[in-house]
């Protein structure tokens, strides 16, 4: 097909003219922008999962220092839902003053298609480029050198495990010994799963979901979904290995087969039905939130079989906002070392701002909820420094979603590995253009 390009402006004008007569309801947006720095304004922050700003009291702190500003947070649990809504709003309007972007979307957001919707934060007042991890900064920068997002956190991985369940299954429960069980190879992690399952307490599984395992394997691989600017997934080393191990885990019956981030997954934490979960730093917040106070002290943390980065996010300021300057100021403040350190201490997100590592209470931080005082600061900041970022691209998020769904087909829909693989490729062929 040879696309014959045409702009759609005329039709848009016609449509506007037809409907203009009907605009009697006067429902257009109220309130106009103001340059007065002391004018009363509301900044809305759209994010997903647990960014930890509310939890760490940062919004309160900021509004106290700036009494004219009110902050509202629109939080969606699952990034997939968040992104669907966000791309609709990027197109149709109605964006928040600040929008979070996840790693798997950042290549698309910085692409020519979408980067125009965001403002350049490298020129924002008070922003300190050197403070951010260089690769993180680079990921949010377009080919033209415009930086559309400031890094909030990175996702160095570990494995979180239930020491009580490990003991019950006759496995070691001390972090060093547990790390040694699977050191260096994700296949060993599945193998330990078999041992666990053989003696597991009734109704408990070794891991929550094989798609978590799949993501863990892919995230620790240098090759993921892109190679030299081209999509690769049928022969990507990371994808193939992750898929194979996920299939093995399903076959071995060591996974509970939950849909990650879905409601049953959340409730399973409090019901103690699985013993391990792949644990990027940001997952600690979920563990504490969903397991609840009743399970305090039961989780501990061990090193992942291989180091890698899973997720991590950025904050961006849409150009369409009414208070761009104020929003940028808030983003700069939220991603500054002191604030990232506070978020880390509260919910465990590892700072993307490397200056935060030098602050007291970060690398020497121990998480009161996890382990008997697990040295999570040290574990994750070491892992963060070891990250070599994998190549990413515009469809990273779509591919990631399709393969996670493919693993689910094996787990929940009784598909064989081959059937699920074929279905996943079919899905990608149909939806990724």
């Amino acid at each position: 097909m040879s696309p014959h390009r045409r702009t759609r402006r005329t039709a848009a004008l016609v449509s506007a003219a037809v409907t203009a007569a009907l605009l009697v309801t006067g429902c257009s947006s109220a309130g106009t922008g103001s340059d007065d720095p002391n004018a009363k304004i509301t900044l809305s922050v759209g994010d997903f999962g647990t960014f930890g700003y509310k939890e760490a009291g940062l919004f309160d702190e900021y509004t106290k220092a700036h009494p004219n500003i009110t902050i509202t947070e629109n939080s969606t649990t699952q990034e997939g839902d968040y992104w669907t809504a966000l791309q609709t709003r990027l197109s149709g309007g109605g964006l928040d003053d600040i929008q979070a972007l996840e790693l798997s979307r950042i290549a698309l957001a910085t692409s020519e298609q979408l980067s125009g919707a965001f403002t350049d934060l490298s020129k924002a007042q008070g922003v300190e480029k050197e403070a951010y991890l260089p690769w993180k900064w680079q990921q949010a920068t377009t080919a033209q050198g415009k930086t559309i997002g400031l890094g909030t956190d990175v996702g160095p991985m570990a494995i979180c495990y239930r020491q009580d369940l490990f003991q019950a299954a006759g496995l070691p429960s001390d972090p060093a010994a547990v790390s040694a069980l699977w050191a260096g190879d994700w296949a060993k992690y599945v193998e330990v799963g078999r041992q666990y399952q053989a003696k597991a307490p009734k109704g408990s599984f070794f891991m929550d979901t094989a798609s978590g395992l799949y993501n863990g394997v892919v995230s620790s691989n240098a090759e993921q979904y892109y190679r030299k600017g081209k999509m690769v997934y049928q022969d990507s080393a990371g994808v193939l290995k992750g898929w194979q191990l996920a299939a093995e885990a399903v076959k071995a019956g060591v996974t509970q087969g939950l849909k990650e981030f879905d409601t049953p997954w959340q409730t399973a934490f409090s019901n103690s039905t699985f013993a391990t979960t792949v644990c990027p730093s940001w997952q600690q917040a979920n563990i504490e939130k969903y397991s609840g106070p009743g399970n305090a002290g039961k989780w501990n943390i061990a090193q992942a079989p291989a180091a890698g980065n899973w997720g991590g996010s950025f904050l961006a300021v849409p150009a369409s906002g009414k208070h761009v300057a104020q929003a940028q100021a808030l983003v700069v403040w939220l991603t500054a070392p002191e604030q990232q350190a506070k978020v880390f201490q509260k919910v465990g997100n590892i700072p993307a701002n490397q200056k935060a590592y030098a602050l007291p209470g970060v690398t020497d931080f121990t998480n009161p909820y996890i382990g008997p005082k697990a040295p999570t600061g040290q574990i994750f900041s070491t892992a963060a420094k070891a990250i070599t970022p994998a190549e990413t691209g515009p469809h990273h998020g779509d591919l990631h979603g399709a393969f996670s769904n493919g693993v689910l087909l094996m787990e929940q829909n009784n598909k064989s590995a081959d059937e699920a693989w074929a279905a996943t490729l079919q899905q990608i062929a149909s939806t990724v253009q």
Binding site: M1, P3, H4, R5, R6, T7, R8, R9, A11, A12, S15, V18, T19, A21, L22, Q78, G80, D81, T84, Q87, T88, L90, S91, Q113, L114, K259, F261, D262, T263, P264, T267, A268, N271, D398, N405, L408, L409, Q412, N413, K415, A423, Q426, Q427, A429, S430, T431, V432, Q433
Partner: protein, 323 residues
């Protein structure tokens, strides 16, 4: 109601004024009907007809959600893709699901409604209570109803599995299986609409002349035969109406499967096991940002609805000529 215009007539008529008045009056008489119907036609033109045609135009283009002002002409490519190309598997699957879900939810619903209307037509104590109670599900929104049923069909601690457990069956992963999920989704639809249709049937039943029954009774027809030979034929137009409305509704089924699926509801389940055409359109356009193809799905749905309408008309005509 007082007519205030009467006071005007008492004064001496001013010829100039009268003629202006009557001209205005005539203008008022000729123009006002058009002014009165204009709002409807304007709204329909702007938000019904124009979008419908615009959908057709978009369906011949490649349009990204990220830049809706740029459309690249692709001819019938979108339709070709749907029918034979990479997304065809999902299109046919969605079409199949729409039909099976439509049958699963509509047929039991209307049959139950008919029986229910018959029961309601007895002389009853507290009939007002029964009617309001049966209509309560209709007042519950799709979203609220689906959330509650999602909990009932939840794999963990759901009431449906508990009930199955009482009789020694289950547990069932309702959402994961193709039939179990479609059954569950149909239950939501049936729950919401049965009472509504029953009340429509009831009203039609009460409009049936009593002498028809008296004549049948004299012929010695049992109550059941009266139902079959008097009630059902007399209800024919009403039944047809509910069939039309329900099948139009079934073709557009969206909210129930979308919300029932939780995280994967946007594609009708991990395996698309209960993905309807409505969901496919939403997922294609607003999840995978392909507005052109989504428009092609929309027009295909429109064609399907026309077919459903045509089939209904033909059946109605045959029934009428058979009468």
């Amino acid at each position: 109601m007082a007519t205030p215009t009467r006071t005007h007539r008492t004064g001496p008529p001013d010829p100039r004024r009268t003629s202006r008045r009557s001209r205005l009056h005539r203008w008022d008489r000729t123009a006002s009907p058009y002014l009165f119907v204009a709002p409807f036609f304007l709204v329909f033109a702007a938000f019904g007809l124009f979008p419908l045609l615009y959908t057709g135009w978009l369906s011949l283009h490649r349009v990204s959600l990220y830049n809706v002002d740029q459309a690249d002409w692709v001819g019938l490519q979108n339709y070709w893709d749907l029918l034979f190309g990479p997304p065809s598997h999902f299109f046919w699957n969605a079409l199949r699901n729409t039909i099976t879900l439509g049958v699963l939810s509509t047929v039991p619903q209307l049959l139950a409604a008919l029986g229910l209307a018959h029961l309601l037509n007895y002389h009853l104590p507290a009939r007002g209570f029964f009617r309001t109670a049966l209509l309560a599900p209709y007042a519950t929104s799709v979203a609220a109803a689906t959330l509650v049923f999602a909990l009932i069909f939840s794999p963990e601690g759901g009431m449906a599995n508990w009930l199955l457990g009482l009789v020694g069956a289950g547990p069932v992963r309702w959402e994961a299986g193709p039939w179990s999920s479609q059954f569950a989704v149909s239950v939501i639809v049936i729950w919401r609409w049965t009472g509504y249709n029953a009340l429509i049937y009831l009203a039609a039943m009460q409009a049936i002349p009593r002498d028809l029954y008296e004549a049948a009774a004299i012929d010695g027809a049992s109550r059941w035969r009266q139902f079959l030979h008097v009630t059902i034929p007399e209800l024919r137009p009403t039944i047809l109406f509910t069939v039309v409305v329900s099948s139009i509704g079934a073709t557009q089924l969206f909210g129930e499967p979308y919300l029932f699926g939780g995280q994967s509801g946007h594609q009708g389940g991990a395996d698309h096991q209960y993905e309807t055409l409505g969901i496919l359109m939403y997922d294609t356009g607003f999840h995978h940002s392909m507005l052109g193809r989504a428009s092609a799905i929309a027009w295909t749905m429109f064609g399907l609805l026309l077919l459903v309408g045509l089939a209904n008309t033909l059946i109605a005509r045959r029934l009428r000529s058979a009468q």
